[in-house]
Symmetry: D3
């Protein structure tokens, strides 16, 4: 606790993901006072055909 | 904003998904007054072995 | 099935929410072929102090 | 209704998942009074590189 | 880990919720082999005007 | 995009929440390369009677 979910398009490298969970955890610990070892981060990736803005999927954009 | 998530069994065609996000976005814009370009739709697919009704997975039904 | 979640700022009227779930359900039935009576819609409301774009909460905007 | 989501690391067998949804459904029915046939269970699996505790992903642990 | 979310209509008593999380945790531990002390359960309640089946909210049913 | 959800116990001050969304947004921008103005953060609060570890709700701990 806290539990953080980061939902983003697929394609980031393992190195980016490794840095992402580290920095986000630091930010949450610093601002909420939660002990770092209790902070959980989940990454959820989505593909361009499952994500739409304004009624148009990213995979359908020209 | 708003953010819409549609969770459904895998198997729909790309054409169905394309129409789904378009029509759902129209429905949300029309009824909430949100500008269409601010409406986000996520599709989440599940497989039959990860979905159960009444304690029985769809993949286990005979 | 399908299961639709609409996440939006609080403040819509009951009449708007009633229309929202009706029109969204129609849009999902029409485009996925799912029987209307099996489509579930959840509304989740958020407050302006729990929603941020670009690092700034809506409640903090001047 | 109710809707139960179980999020866990990938790797359980089909037999474990089959038992999981059955036993969880029984537990929910028994304690909430909901009719068993109305209880829905979703399984969501995550991989070790998308799950971090204390700022470190499980895939990065030595 | 695992993380279980139970989404249901508001109205259950504290005693029911207490029993719910206990029994669900037991069911998950027994079937997945996860140590009981690592299993997390979240309860999410919804109101009848935020939940619709077949395009009709429970609060609109006569 | 990305969309970040922070789920935590209720009780943080507005000042803590303001800092939380700011620092988390910075962390995501820095590590993923996403433009800051496209990063969305949602805060979800839970109460102690809706959150359990090891089958016991925080509200039931003595």
């Amino acid at each position: 606790m806290p539990y953080v979910t980061v939902k983003m398009l697929e394609g980031r490298t393992e190195e980016q993901k490794r840095a992402l969970v580290e920095k986000v955890t630091d930010a949450v610990a610093e601002t909420t006072g939660a002990p770092k070892e209790k902070i959980v981060v989940f990454i959820e990736e989505m593909s361009k055909n499952h994500y739409a803005i304004g009624g148009k999927r990213l995979s359908d954009e020209s």
